[in-house]
Amino acid sequence: MEKKVLISIKNLKMYFPIKKGLFGKQVSYVKAVDDVSFEIMKGETLGLVGESGCGKTTTGRTIIKLYEPTSGHIIYDGVDIAKFTPTQMLPYRKKMQMIFQDPYASLNPRMTVADIIGEAIDIHKLMTGKERMERIHYLLNVVGLNSEHANRYPHEFSGGQRQRIGIARALAVQPEFIICDEPISALDVSIQAQVVNMLEDLQRDFGLTYLFIAHDLSMVKHISNRVGVMYLGKLVELAESNELYTKPLHPYTQALLSAIPIPDPEEALSKKRIVLEGEIPSPIDPPPGCRFKGRCRYAKPICAEQDPEFKDVGGGHMVACHLY
């Protein structure tokens, strides 16, 4: 695979202010994404995993500028788009698209499928009339639906079919990069595999680059070339997916991976599970030092004082932990 960087995220921060009182005095911040840096190569799938509240979805939404980043750089194909105005963003919106988690909430119930898919085509003034309709029919075929579905409304479809409509909408403007935010977690298991296979086919056929955000660790491993693990707004580990799953370095990654239920009764019996005590602390004004120290088996005094640096420990395996 060619190793060309498509997107480079540098020191990205996304803080949400917490306001209190009549005049909305700002009292503190939710540090949803706190100084995250990584690169996405052209044509690859980068997985992003972590538990609820770790900032993986916010990272995705900030990259596509659904939020205005607090600071940091989002360099897309050599151009820093972090400070771009909506007008400046318009050409980039054509290149970056998103597939959302909930296929029931992300489609407007009052629009027909054709209008949902065609909306982006209209906004970017790509096609009109017959050509536009042909494109919509083509897209429906690409995602395994047929052209008769174009004039129906979202409620007439099952969850898996709706997610296909969401994917067709993302493909409508011929993007280069798609953020898949938990695209399969609302679907039944037998349907999940259908959608994952389709995403893989589309990547091959259209040369797409994916950022695949999910909490299902086995599915993320299956689809991703590299996987990043987030904890409380920080990226704690990033490596090639087999490497990460066989040699996890960060104590949090180790615990997270050991918690995956293995669909094999004998292995489940023999497996030693690292059960983490407690839960993710609040991201409001987190204390200095390593965010994971309170739940970490290996915590040392230095972990409370110094934020561990996110560094390469060999072969592109990045980890933020004082053990390494």
Binding site: N197, S218, T246, A259, I260, P261, P265
Partner: protein, 336 residues
Amino acid sequence: MERLLEIKNLKTSFFTHVGEVKAVRGVSFHLDKGEALGIVGESGSGKSITMMSVMRLLADNGKIVDGEIWFNGRDLVKLSENEMQKIRGNEIGMIFQDPMTSLNPVLTIGDQLTEPLLKHKKMPKDKAIERAIEMLRLVGIPSPEKRIKQYPHEFSGGMRQRVMIAMALINEPKLLIADEPTTALDVTIQAQILELMKELKQKINTSIILITHDLGVVADVCNRINVMYGGLIVETGRTTDIFYNPKHPYTWGRLRSVPNPKTLVKERLKPIDGQPPDLLKPPAGCPFAPRCDYAMRVCMTHMPPLFEVGEQHKAACWLNHPDAPKVEAPVGRRHV
């Protein structure tokens, strides 16, 4: 082994304005004391409705049309609502899927936890609170004396699910029904809850029925598994039989459609194509036949019976008929 629960030919339907939805279409199984049984299936397979029928907690338009539910020597189908209330929360405890909505937001955790004790055991209030605190400690909630006075919104998802488990177990029920108890939780919290359930099973010797769509969860917790599809049990057996020597194409499909996190070579997933059957008009033959790679002519017209394929192992597929063509199962690594 002593029988705790025996379900015979249970049929449950919902009567809607478009017609009768046959959600459970003749299900029979049993559960012994101290056993953990998994019920696996996708949405609409009838797994939750089967257990809701046992609890007699069906929606107003739902009805047990036929069958018997023998629990501890009594047929629950025939009991009055009053008698049923004496069983719910007392002899049978239930944990629901969504810990965020199954607690009452305007009552304290203490009020909700002591309710079954006050109601069923007629325990004095101070004793009940003592017991509730003890129970919260057992499920791993720190400083329970303080937490008992708090409201559900002050608890996180994992903590609420622990409260639900404490509530379901507080009267030491003979049977615990857990309907997707960890689906709404993160994987590290799921690990905590599963460990807790296994530990409690040992400590209080409760029988467990675990309803889930996650094969990893059943592999971890259950001794036996019922695989449900289209309102029927299509395969039943010990956990090792189902994973290592499955005999139904739907089970094969399910086992193949999830990636194994242990494999290093990337293999393409094998989805089950098509959609589950419409239970308004259930098919005459095998409900899985339209999606099945191995379907024969007989499958479309005749429902296969549960063929005996091993000790405690049955599968409802015509491939197990002596005259059927021999088919090599595409999954099941070891033959046991």
